[in-house]
């Protein structure tokens, strides 16, 4: 046998051998995660028609809403343009972007979990020593993502069929399509990076970029809303550059553009093909982005330095994201006011609200609040690093050194809490730079979010310290706060529910009145939560 014989390619059937077993195995492992995510997503979508019916029951109320939307670029940036006044169209408008983003998150988590995670942990080596074709694991991962997205499409289609079967089908397929586009993006990224954490981070960054592009595009134009109702306009190129923008432009329940589904399917297929081509060209466990060798001698001085060393990459990534998002949104703030020129009704509404200055302020305040909510996600990941270090057994040898538990935890908490303040500072700097004026007021608006972010971080510390088994519940808390913050106000959710979120108590800056009481109370609450969590950590057994 010669060297040339290594170049012989296995047939496709053999490269897929074992896919069925691996798919069943993947679904068994995800038996809780997939139904939970799909269920939450479907619930969010399916509860919407009823809620909207209560809010905008009459055609007049809906017309009013559409008028507002046409004029309010900041609201458009958050949820996208409206294309029709039926309950179905309003549902698609209200939750489309978020349902798509959630489906994308599930897709990327499932795919990375069953590909790069398995290789990184070394489990894939033993699995691949069985009757498993070279493409089987990637295929099983993509199929698991397809099962999750398919179930979601089915639920959405069936649940919304009452609003119009065609629209429901288009919307369900559109959401699932976005999920599969990002599942295949993750499949590519998983070939490039050696660590699963980095693969998830990079894919999430692509998703974040897609969200920002769509928001920027939709705020710049009204996405053809006025065209649908008689006066010209169309989605900007920025919107069309984002798969989330495609979902908006599918126009479910408002004269579906079925060809947009082809765009989603095409993107998923092309990306899938790229992922397979990359996978075929590498050895198991290897990656295209090589990991650089580290220094031969270490200078890490202790637990705090170690915590910073472990988290600095993630802090850097989040920092870049916040700065860029701030710059983009800051640049959009002025445009928000200019657009009003076209729309008499909206101009009247906003002049009553405080004129052009009031509109710009409202936009900046909304963006600062939105970035604050995203910073809550950072603080949860960062705090839960403690949990990851403990359960993986990496904390054990560190704590076996002359390092107290509190000092060890403090190292990570400084990065978590200091890091979230840094992120908001950078977001403020970005907004101020992008907007070009009123630096002080904008920085203040961003920094005022920090105590609320800290409260979420405090909850994470509390759960980790007192009930480590429930530490992942911190994600649930962050998710609930995100949902309340993003979807709550537009839906007139009862005040009592809005008040559950620490963000609901913050002064609306810039433009609003600065009130110190909630800021101080939330800071004190965060301190108390962290203290209680640390007290719990000191008393309990470490998991080994």
């Amino acid at each position: 046998m010669s060297a040339a014989s290594f170049a012989v390619r296995p047939t496709s059937a053999r490269r897929l051998a074992g896919t069925g077993i691996l798919l069943r195995f993947a679904l068994r492992r995800d038996r809780v995660m997939i139904p939970l995510w799909v269920g939450v997503n479907a619930l969010m979508v399916l509860s919407m028609p009823n809620t909207l019916k209560g809010l905008y029951g009459t055609p007049a109320e809906r017309a009013d809403l559409i008028g507002q939307m046409a004029g309010n670029s900041s609201l458009r940036a958050m949820v996208g343009p409206v294309f029709g006044d039926s309950l179905g169209a309003l549902t698609a408008w209200r939750v489309g972007v978020y349902a798509g983003a959630l489906a994308a998150v599930v897709g990327l988590l499932v795919v990375v979990r069953h590909t790069r995670d398995e290789e990184e942990s070394g489990r894939q080596e033993m699995v691949a020593s069985g009757m498993v074709g070279r493409r089987a694991s990637l295929t099983a991962a993509l199929l698991a993502a397809a099962v999750a997205n398919g179930a979601l499409a089915l639920l959405v289609t069936a649940g919304l069929a009452g609003q119009g079967a065609a629209g429901a089908l288009a919307f369900g397929l559109g959401i699932a399509g976005v999920g599969m586009v990002f599942a295949t993006t993750a499949a590519i990224v998983a070939q490039l990076t050696e660590s699963a954490r980095l693969a998830r981070g990079l894919t999430a960054a692509v998703l974040g970029a897609a969200f920002v592009l769509r928001a920027a595009g939709d705020s710049a134009t009204d996405g053809g809303t006025s065209q649908a109702f008689g006066t010209g306009g169309g989605s900007s190129l920025l919107t069309w550059a984002s798969p989330l923008g495609w979902l908006t432009n599918l126009r479910a329940f408002a004269g579906e553009r079925w060809w947009v589904l082809g765009l989603l399917a095409g993107a998923a297929l092309v990306q899938g093909a790229v992922a397979y081509a990359l996978a075929d060209r590498r050895d198991l466990g290897m990656s295209f982005l090589p990991s650089r060798p580290g220094p031969a001698a270490g200078r890490l001085g202790g637990a705090r330095a170690l915590a910073w060393r472990l988290q600095r990459g993630s802090v850097l990534g989040w920092s870049i994201g916040f700065l860029l998002a701030g710059l983009v949104y800051g640049g959009m703030a002025d445009g928000a006011a200019d657009l009003l020129g076209d729309n008499e009704g909206a101009r009247e509404i906003f002049e009553r609200m405080g004129g052009e200055a009031g509109l710009t302020d409202a936009f900046l305040a909304a963006m600062a609040g939105m970035l604050g909510l995203v910073a809550a996600l950072y603080v949860v990941t960062s705090v839960l690093r403690l949990h990851g270090e403990e359960t993986s057994g990496r904390a054990e040898p560190v704590l076996a050194g002359s390092v107290g538990r509190l000092r060890w935890a403090a190292g990570h908490l400084v990065v978590a809490f200091g890091g979230s303040a840094l992120l908001m500072l950078l977001a403020g700097a970005g907004l101020a730079l992008g907007h070009g004026e009123r630096t002080g007021a904008i920085l203040g608006a961003c920094l005022v979010q920090v105590p609320a972010v800290w409260v979420i971080g405090g909850v994470a510390v509390l759960l980790y310290g007192l009930a480590p088994g429930a530490a992942m519940g911190a994600w649930g808390v962050a998710g609930a706060v995100l949902l309340i913050g993003w979807v709550g106000p537009a839906l007139d959710v009862p005040r009592a529910v809005l008040d559950l979120s620490p963000f609901g108590h913050l002064p609306k800056l810039p433009g609003g009145e600065m009130t110190w009481a909630p800021v101080l109370v939330l800071t004190a609450l965060a301190v108390a939560l962290v203290a209680a969590g640390l007290a719990g950590l000191r008393r309990r057994d470490l998991s080994t």
Binding site: P10, R14, R29, G285, M286, T391
Partner: protein, 298 residues
């Protein structure tokens, strides 16, 4: 009888590192073959090439006479592999994992599975995250030994096992040999190798430096001789293959290449031997000689 594994002139580089630099390996069907070498010598890389996980840069490798890269799936039907560091899924039980690996190979013998779980004293109902290192190793071993396969590839399989379990492992390997199965065993535990292996291959820096039965390998190394003589020794230093000669009056200590022993004994008996001890090289000496750089051996 076909050969289970043949490897010749295998090369594999990772960037600037040459993990394999022309490695040769032959494993006969039905034998237990020891695969030895210092850390980083390329044992695991070779095994990964044999499993079709890595594509060799050049050279030839065959398992059951087939190409491990192109025919991976068919070959794997007849292979069970146990790595030195088994990782399990946190929320799956050991029993689930054993059955999964069984399905991914040619199938599992349920009686043998039950018997092995008993012998290894494994609790198959515990979740992956709660197993200790040794118990994770047992999960993989039970899955491998209970599988209906022809070739077992074991890469330092007993790391973390206690001495009792080590004994169970050795009995299992012996049983596998009796059933006519082939075993490629990479190990640092020399007593294990001595007990189990029909033949061994020693590799260093990606090249095979020695291959053969233990008796053959012993022959290639030095025997220590110490003797008390009736008269003064003479001519010993001039004999070929004599090393570390130490003469204190009539007492002589020396090392001699085992295949040159005859000439030394003749020379000693010319002086008259009062007492003589000759120690064959221990396995440790055998390996140290091959593991260390030539420079330090000399």
């Amino acid at each position: 009888m076909t050969k289970a594994i043949t490897v010749s002139g295998l090369h594999k580089s990772f960037g600037r590192t040459h993990a394999l630099a022309g490695l040769d390996l032959t494993v006969e069907t039905g034998e237990v073959h020891g695969f030895l070498g210092p850390n980083g010598s390329g044992k695991s890389t070779t095994i990964r090439v044999l499993l079709g996980l890595l594509r060799a840069d050049s050279g030839a490798a065959q398992v059951f006479g087939r190409d491990p890269w192109t025919d991976a799936v068919e070959i794997h039907r007849r292979i069970a592999y146990v790595p030195g560091d088994v990782t399990l899924w946190r929320n799956l039980s050991g029993g689930e994992v054993i059955d999964l690996y069984g399905r991914l190979r040619g199938g599992l013998d349920p009686h043998r599975r039950a018997e092995l779980i008993e012998r290894f004293e494994l609790d198959p109902t515990k979740k992956g995250r709660t197993y200790s290192k040794g118990n994770r190793q047992k999960v993989a071993l039970v899955a491998a030994f209970a599988s209906d396969v022809d070739l077992l590839i074991l890469d330092e399989p007993t790391s973390g096992l206690d001495p009792l379990m080590e004994e169970v492992f050795q009995r299992c390997v012996a049983e596998e040999r009796e059933r006519g199965r082939t075993v490629l065993l990479s190990s640092h535990i020399l007593s294990e190798v001595e007990e189990l292996c029909d033949r061994v291959s020693i590799i260093r820096k990606g090249v095979t430096v020695e291959s053969g039965s233990l008796a053959e390998l012993r022959h290639l190394t030095r025997t220590s001789v110490s003797a008390e003589l009736a008269g003064p020794p003479n001519g010993l230093a001039a004999l070929p293959g004599v090393h570390d000669l130490d003469v204190q009056g009539r007492r002589v200590r020396l090392q001699v290449d085992t295949d040159k022993l005859d000439a030394v004994l003749r020379s000693l008996s010319e002086s008259g031997v009062r007492s003589l001890t000759s120690t064959p090289p221990t396995l440790e000496e055998l390996f140290l000689r091959h593991y260390q750089d030539e420079v330090t051996v000399r």
